[in-house]
């Protein structure tokens, strides 16, 4: 069990990267954790690289930026190249397949998910890919629960997107959970690194 998990999301402006960070942070807070998040600013509307990061912790966060990410969620090749070197040795990468082509699978654990395609095909919009990946993150690591994600994703979002987001999160969660089982069956215990001790009460 970790005290603090550092997550980075990377992709292109327009892919909803910033929102992923916000929803993850808000979900964590709903569960009583502490969270701190930042993101690259101002590039949302254009096609350039975009990054969001969240520190989730069972204690108040001292330094609110990611110092070394434990977990990357990557939605574009450019982001992959840029952020992978930062990842800790025991880190985990969740990436959008086949849009992102992993390059150094050896060093860290990679999990490819066809998030964009899935979103397009089953939800009708590539825009929902970000929520699919948040669901995967939750299903796989249990860093935050699906429920808190669902709640967080509802806030400040127009009604018409709420339903789509819910379905995307659920879909992702079940994909993530499948992968979690698989990993666990392999006897992999490192997944525990990504779930937190219960929040300290102050």
């Amino acid at each position: 069990m970790a005290e603090k998990v550092q997550v980075c999301f990377g992709g292109l402006g327009g892919q909803g990267i910033v929102l992923m960070g916000t929803v993850l942070g808000a979900a964590a807070v709903k569960q009583g954790f502490w969270a701190a998040g930042s993101n690259s600013y101002g590039a949302q509307a254009r096609g350039s690289a975009c990054r969001a990061e969240v520190v989730v912790s069972s204690q108040p966060v001292d330094f609110p930026r990611v110092i070394r990410p434990d977990l990357l969620v990557i939605l574009s090749q450019e982001a992959y190249r840029k952020f992978l070197p930062e990842l800790g040795k025991e880190g985990l990468v969740i990436y959008d397949s086949p849009g992102v082509k992993p390059e150094q699978e050896s060093c860290v654990v990679h999990l490819g998910v066809q998030g964009t395609e899935l979103a397009l095909e089953t939800l009708g919009s590539a825009q929902a890919a970000n929520m699919v990946f948040l669901g995967v993150l939750s299903g796989l690591t249990r860093l935050v629960s699906l429920d808190s994600l669902l709640e967080a994703a509802r806030e400040g979002v127009p009604q018409k997107f709420q339903d789509m987001n819910r379905r995307a999160l659920e879909k992702g969660f079940s994909l993530g959970s499948e992968a979690r089982e698989k990993f666990q069956k392999q006897g992999n215990r490192w997944l525990e690194r990504f779930s937190l001790e219960g929040p300290v009460s102050l």
Partner: protein, 84 residues
């Protein structure tokens, strides 16, 4: 957002009215004087679809970028930040 669609110009029906050229926000369309046809330089095109929307002959069509196919090599983009 990366470009998801690109314009495809059907030279057949084109009347060379140049409306697409005048309205392309990225100066990506020229009248190729030699050949007497409209040419779209996809290195500059952002896929906005304005040319297609305004072509009076309806000969420009926006087609999905083939995710697989390598995009035309872009010239280096200057890093610019919004929000001065």
């Amino acid at each position: 957002m990366a470009r998801t669609h690109r314009p495809r110009l059907n030279r057949e029906g084109c009347k060379l009215c140049q409306m697409c050229r005048y309205l392309c926000p990225d100066l990506a369309i020229r009248l190729e004087e030699s050949g007497g046809f409209m040419a779209i330089d996809l290195r500059y095109c952002k896929g906005c679809g304005v040319c297609a929307a305004f072509c009076p002959e309806g000969v420009i069509e926006m087609v999905r970028e083939d995710m697989g196919e390598a995009p035309p090599k872009k010239r280096p983009r200057k890093a610019v930040a919004r929000r001065d």
